[in-house]
Symmetry: C2
Subunit: 270 residues, 2 copies
């Protein structure tokens, strides 16, 4: 139930591990993220006592901006394309000497995310498998390394299924565009560090439709009373899907990876 | 966090205690409730292996009816006034010989609800006070008896403040009408068993507005990721309210009493 984690998602694990491993004298950290990694890094830096600059598109929702500022970081505005955001992040890095902490393709970030699986297999020793939603692959890579004896499954929205395609094809697939309500999983391709780990360790990546994501999210809200975000619902939707019926793994750990969701409207409202 | 309790509310504690204490040979149980007590009794009876009949107004939402049926009970339809519902429940009782289990004014129900406070003071030994929302007073009476060394505060919606008025006046106040989004607290007056306990033990009952309830509910959903229902938000709203500022009780336990809420729309949507 990583939605109960500090900053509302598992990302705090990776951000904390990365920040705590920085050499003494590090001036600050920088990243570009309009999502959970930005909030997590903001808080992790505050705990360490160093400044953080989070690059976000000018178009980002005021709530997300306020969250990052609330955790004590500075928001730097950029254009909304990846190229524009990366350019601003690099410029901040050059001007300030702050260390970039990327959202997933970073050894300390991956190792940090892995601690969620470590705790899970300690808590539930007889687990047949662990299932994790896949965006950039940081979480599932960390799980793969932290629970080497456990089978690993992934889950992706059909509209952002680059990892599923990569695994099926046996080579890294880069998507032009990702579209899904699961805004934490809109990464177009896996990283240099995460792809080899995914390829070596992940048994299968199940894809789910937007309707399945919404239904799983509503089911968890209504029956479990936990306010998971759409990206977390992707994992729940996967184990509930027809595609998963023939998987012979009776005891599957599903990490509810986050709970940061806009409450202005409900995703199942027309 | 009683929203995580079986059937989604603390009511399962009282229903279970009442059902488990029934004499051998009891044929079944009956109650009239369109809310959490109905669901709780349905499930408690199923666990005990005896039938339950839950009287609900014909106008009740299909979701609530389906929940009771899902727990294995039979729904008996009635008119929507208290008199009509009670008449149907009495008629069921006479025809079937089933034992009536009322929602709050029943010693075993009160004792059962008290176990939530018992667990709370065991988990958090240095608690200055416990705060509970007040409907018919079953929960707060149980808490009062189960945690005799702890100060007890109550909370009510302004539109259903019969207990606050009773406590202030020193005699039982019966309201003509209760209006609040907190549908679990729309009881017009305390019971024969609960009122004397409330009068003897409850230090103060704080009242909160509908806006305060909605704001507390949204705060808990957004920041704590727990899907509390409006009645549970009443307790949170109370400790956040101006009225509570002068209460000298730094460590207050607030029971999040339930999480059964319609997810068709959001209460803060216009």
């Amino acid at each position: 139930a990583e939605l109960f984690q500090t900053t509302g998602s598992f990302k705090y694990r990776g951000a904390t591990n990365a920040v705590q491993n920085l050499p003494a004298g590090t001036r600050g950290v920088v990243t570009h993220s309009s999502g959970n990694h930005g909030q997590a890094l903001a808080k992790a830096a505050a705990v360490k006592g160093i400044p953080a600059m989070i690059v976000m598109p000018a178009s980002v929702s005021p709530v997300k901006k306020a969250a990052v500022i609330g955790y004590g970081a500075t928001v730097v505005e950029s254009g909304s394309t990846s190229t524009e955001r990366e350019a601003v992040a690099r410029s901040v890095q050059e001007k300030t000497g702050f260390v970039p902490i990327p959202p997933f393709d970073h050894a300390d970030v991956i190792a940090g995310q892995g601690t969620a699986a470590l705790e899970l297999v300690e808590d539930v020793p007889n687990l047949d498998a662990i299932l994790a939603p896949v965006g950039g692959g940081g979480m599932i890579s960390g799980f793969s390394l932290a629970a080497p004896q456990t089978r690993i499954f992934g889950a992706e929205p059909t509209g952002a299924d680059d990892a599923a395609q990569s695994l099926a094809k046996g080579e890294l697939v880069r998507l032009e565009k990702c579209v899904s309500i699961a805004d934490g999983l809109l990464t177009n391709y896996l990283g240099d560090l995460t792809w080899p780990i995914v390829q070596a360790r992940v048994e299968r990546i199940v894809t789910v439709s937007e309707d399945e994501i919404r239904a799983a999210m509503r089911l968890m809200w209504e029956r479990m009373k936990v306010l998971i975000e759409p990206s977390a619902a992707v994992g729940v939707a996967a184990i509930l899907s027809d595609a998963f019926r023939d998987v012979d793994a009776p005891r599957i750990g599903v990490v509810l990876c986050g709970g940061n969701v806009s409450l202005d409207t409900l995703p199942w409202q027309s």
